[in-house]
Amino acid sequence: MAVKSSLTNMVAVLGLTCLVCSALLGGAYALTKEPIQAAAAQKTTQAIAQVLPHFTEVEYNQEDGFYTAMDGENLVGYAIESSVMGFGGELKLLVGITPDGVVYNTAVLAHSETPGLGAKCTTDTRFMDQWRGFDPSVKKLAVTKDGGDVDAITASTITSRAYTQAVSNALGVFALLNNQEDPDAFSGDSVVKIEEGGQDNE
């Protein structure tokens, strides 16, 4: 407060402050870069392990946003990233599908649903457990309100519909994968829109 402002001291102080601060941040960025990546990678691995049976190897197809999980030589299943618009924004799921076309389990990767309502899609066990072993050839993939077999979260029909839509999209991708002899030849130019890339951290 005490210093009288002049052009030189203003430029000097502001410049010096910015220099010191950016140096600090650069250093902090370099130091935390690895842990941040490790945390993101660990999160993905955990999500895949949650939605698929035991596997030993996993391969990521970044272009089309799905993981192929193998146990030795055998195909365990696909974990497919699927994102739709929920009530509060993007709702991004990872849907594990075994080779017979049955949903093994689902996990929420990112969401911005209302706390206490739609956000229950990550905590409401009654809602989450019905996706375990959901067989789309037996059950109808729509919420009960729309004449299907998916029990919606109380007071969160929009979120439940979006969730169902995301699973349905993932099953669409799976159908395309299954019809292709070489999954690597799968191209993203299909009607089914899925999110590309995996990282959601900035």
Partner: protein
């Protein structure tokens, strides 16, 4: 001013949430549960203490006309540091608080304490002031979060005690935030006047 008084002033007499009504945006938005309120409070406490100390140290050499930009740069630096650290070591907390961490930069509590206190006092006193106001903010947010969580989701600190999922949902959403804040403010100020 005694050291204890510096801290207790921030907690009670100058309580940022219930008395000064500063930082309302993160207060209303992040207090959907006690844990969320607590983490937001602690994040702000961290930034507040460090920025108060840094600003009180550099204040004597900062020319008057550029003091606001300089303070903002200092505050933004600490916030970004916090953001990196949270992303690296507490990613789930970072996800919950998400957007509100970068917004600490423009939280009027932080700049307010820099302007009103830190640039006129020494490093030690400013640190204590930061701790006091930061704790005041943390406590208010935790209490507000706790009340909203109990009414809205029937749980406290994530522990569900009504056995079901359904509380009075309005309290988890924005209108409930205003209602709870209003009533807590009344109670707090009534208590203050008595003493």
């Amino acid at each position: 001013m005694s050291k204890m008084k510096l801290v207790s002033d921030g907690l009670v007499k100058n309580n940022p949430t219930f008395v000064l009504l500063l930082g309302m945006c993160p207060t209303l938005a992040t207090t959907t549960s006690a844990i969320n309120g607590l983490s937001m409070g602690l994040a702000t406490l961290f930034v507040l203490v460090l920025s108060n100390m840094a600003i009180s140290a550099i204040a004597p050499v900062v020319p008057d006309k550029v003091h606001i930009p300089v303070y903002i740069v200092v505050i933004a630096t600490f916030v970004t540091l916090l953001q990196f650290l949270m992303q690296a070591y507490s990613p789930s907390m970072y996800e919950t608080l998400g957007l509100f961490i970068p917004l600490i930069v423009v939280n009027c509590i932080v700049l307010g304490r820099a302007e009103a206190f830190a640039n006129k006092h020494g490093v030690g006193e400013s640190a204590l002031d930061g701790i006091g106001v930061g704790l005041g903010f943390t406590c208010s947010l935790t209490v507000l979060g706790l009340v909203r969580e109990i009414l809205g989701s029937g749980s406290a600190f994530g522990y569900n005690f009504i056995g079901g999922n359904d509380g009075m949902l309005a309290f988890v959403m924005a209108p409930g935030a205003f209602l709870c804040l209003g009533y807590l403010m009344v109670l707090f100020n009534k208590y203050l006047k008595k003493n």
